[in-house]
Structures are given as structure tokens and as C-alpha cells.
Homo-oligomer: 226 residues x 2
């Protein structure tokens, strides 16, 4: 059982560490096992070193995760298809959401880690350009990007929860039961609307985008008189 002094290059010379290398390893891990497994320890193990070594290049676990999101955002391009800027904007948002939808855990993360990677910035730029095309004044546009991206991200994070969670079926049906059983005395409006509160009949997401866009077009920035 004497410990074999492992030959100096069991793997063809361990490549030097670098931020990029770490991110590549993290990305691979992410695609194979999901965000939950992208931990400092696991990434370090893949790179055949200890977790402490990563801290030279990565400040945080969050830092690592944010880098993964930005990498996935590379696929988003401005749709040039319809002439209507309104529809093109919705298309852009939907394609951003598609990424988050495919990887629900990232939506949660994006909710709390103000992204600032190059691909995210490109997305912001695209949206600003579309708003400008739609004649939205600059002051409003600046706030509107935020609102639109917040909505898209939050919507994805919400769906993410009840898709990924094992408790979801019971959660959802128990919620449905609560709503259907809602006491008409104390919760008349919930009782009246019933299942409609939960249903996604119709294009609920599209309606949400329309609400936002219509609202943005018609709400002056400084008119707050309250």
C-alpha cells in the first residue's frame, strides 16, 4: 500500500490556472451537472487542485455563477425579422427568457447578482436601440430597460421554482386547493376568480410584455405628483 509517487505528468502537464481556464471548467461542469454542482470545491477538483487555488482568480462563488450566465447570453441576437419594433422587442425578450428558462437556476441567480458581463451589456444595448426606434424618450428608456429585463428575469425565476422543485406538484395543487376552497366571506375576490388566478390560458407572457410596453409608452417620467 506504499503510496505510489505519481509520475510527474500523469496528465500531460497540468495547465496553469487562469480565470478563463477556471470558467471553462465551470461551464463544462454546469452543462453536465447543473448549477448546483458548480461549487468551488468541484471546479477545483476538475482542475486537479484544491479550492483555495481558485481564490486567486475568482472572488466568490457568485462571481463564478455570474460568469456562466454571461457565457450563455452569447447566443442572443437582435431579431431582424418583423418590421414592427414592438414585436422585435418582444422577440428579444423572449429569447433572453428562453435561456433562463432552459437553465432555471440561473434566473434565480440573475435576480440577485446584477449582471455586468459583455453579453448582458449587448442585450441592454439592443433593447435601448429598439426603444429608441419606438420613439421612447431617453429618460424613460433608461428606466424601461431595467423594467423589461427585471420582468423577464423574474418571470423566468418564478416558473423556475415550480418546475425544478420536487415539491411543486403538491405545492401547486395545494395552492389550487386553497384558492378553490377560499372562503367567500373573507376572500370574496379570490373565490370569485378562482382558477383564473393560476391559469396560463392565453398568452399570459405576451400580455405581460404588452402591458409593460404600453405602460412605458404612456407614462411620463416626471409626472409623479403624489
Amino acid at each position: 500500500m506504499a503510496k505510489q509517487p505519481r509520475s510527474r505528468r500523469e496528465r500531460p502537464s497540468k495547465p496553469a490556472l487562469s480565470r478563463e481556464g477556471i470558467i471553462v471548467a465551470a461551464l463544462a461542469l454546469f452543462h453536465e451537472e447543473g448549477l448546483a454542482k458548480v461549487t468551488m470545491r468541484r471546479v477545483a477538483a476538475v482542475l486537479d487542485t484544491g479550492p483555495a487555488s481558485l481564490y486567486v482568480y475568482i472572488s466568490d462563488t457568485e462571481d463564478l455563477h455570474a460568469e456562466i450566465l454571461d457565457a450563455l447570453l452569447a447566443g442572443i441576437a437582435e431579431p431582424s425579422s418583423p418590421d414592427d419594433w414592438h414585436e422585435r422587442l418582444k422577440g428579444t425578450l423572449r429569447s433572453y427568457m428562453a435561456v433562463l428558462f432552459e437553465h432555471p437556476e440561473l434566473a434565480r441567480m440573475a435576480m440577485s447578482t446584477m449582471p455586468s458581463g459583455p453579453n448582458y451589456l449587448a442585450l441592454v444595448e439592443t433593447i435601448l436601440a429598439l426603444l429608441k426606434e419606438g420613439g421612447v424618450p431617453d429618460g424613460q428608456a433608461a428606466w424601461a430597460v431595467d423594467l423589461l429585463l427585471l420582468f423577464a428575469t423574474a418571470q423566468a425565476a418564478e416558473k423556475a421554482a415550480w418546475k425544478a422543485s420536487a415539491r411543486s406538484p403538491s405545492d401547486f395543487s395545494s395552492l389550487a386547493k386553497i384558492i378553490e376552497t377560499a372562503d367567500a366571506e373573507t376572500l370574496p375576490n379570490i373565490a370569485r376568480l378562482g382558477a383564473d388566478l393560476l391559469s396560463g390560458r392565453g398568452d399570459r407572457l405576451g400580455w405581460g410584455f404588452d402591458v409593460l410596453i404600453n405602460g412605458i409608452l404612456e407614462t411620463r417620467r416626471m409626472e409623479t405628483k403624489s
Copy 2:
């Protein structure tokens, strides 16, 4: 060093476990040390037992956290002050957000744990009543509650991030730097708007609510022609 057989009632008879008792203990821990410390192990320790014992009453760590949010939501009442339903709705949403703002970690949690506690339900009921008062058709109202609460929660979760995180100052200023340094060639719109993208000058939150409310009032549910 013989182990003293501890007298049978060192504490005046350990109270029997119960879901309520566990939640009370969790709530105390939450107020003293924050959500991060509300773990199965810590709560069990407070109750002078092992973590395994809690699983008879609590299904999950998430279950525990959701219960904490609902407890905090007890304080939200419908404001009866202004006659304008529009303003009353904004007031209700702001008071919901105030809770999340005070306890930022909970906003993140609410993002991914579809709440269904009695106090949350009461909040939904209040909002539905206000929308009805405002003449919003039922079909739209059902979706609108969701949209409004999603926005409020997401907004709180977002602020939560850069308030709670130690990295926030560097994060924020680095983002600001990126935006100010934005290449006018590749990111013309970001470069043009600059600091306006980040600034909260003016009532940004209020503007968001107005956008939503205006949009809700003007966007028919089935008009999606795309």
C-alpha cells in the same frame, strides 16, 4: 468527569414539538441572526433536539423560510386613506415591499417559493379588490395581481442584492465604470444614456408602478394578434 445524569428537568420540562413551536423558534432566530442562520440544525439546537426531529413537521428548509415570510406579512393592511384607488394600490404594494426591503433575503426567497400562506392570500385579496374598484375586468385582474406582485418582489430582490452583498460597492462602481467607459462604437445607446441607466433620480419605483397600472388598464387580454 463522569457524565452527570442531567436532572430530568434542567429546563422546566422540554415542551413537545409542534409545527407552531418550530416556527416560533425559527422566527426568533430570524430576528436575532437573519435568514441565513435559520437552518434546520440551528432551529433544532434552539429546541434542544437534533435536526432529524424537525422533519416530522417541516418538509424542507424552504418550508421553514416560507413560513417566516408569511408571518411578517401579517402587518400589511389595506390603506383606507386616499380616495383614489390608484394611490391606495400603490400604497399597498409599497407596504408589501417595505417588508421585503427590511429583510432582503426574504425577497429572494419569495422569488422562488410561490407563497401561499394566509397573509399572502389576504394581500392578493386586497389587490384584487382595488383592481375591481378601478374597473379592471376580471380576466385582466387575475393576471394583473400576479404582475404587480412579481414586480414588487423582484424589485425588492434586486435592491436586496446590492445592499446586502459585501461586493456591492465594487460591483456597482465597476458597473458604473463599464457604462461610462462604454465604447460609443459598439454600444452607442449605453454610452449616450450613461449614468442615467443607473440613477434613481426621481421616483423610479413610483414610475414603475404607474407603468404597470397604466398598462393594465389599457391592455386587453385577448388582443394578442401575433
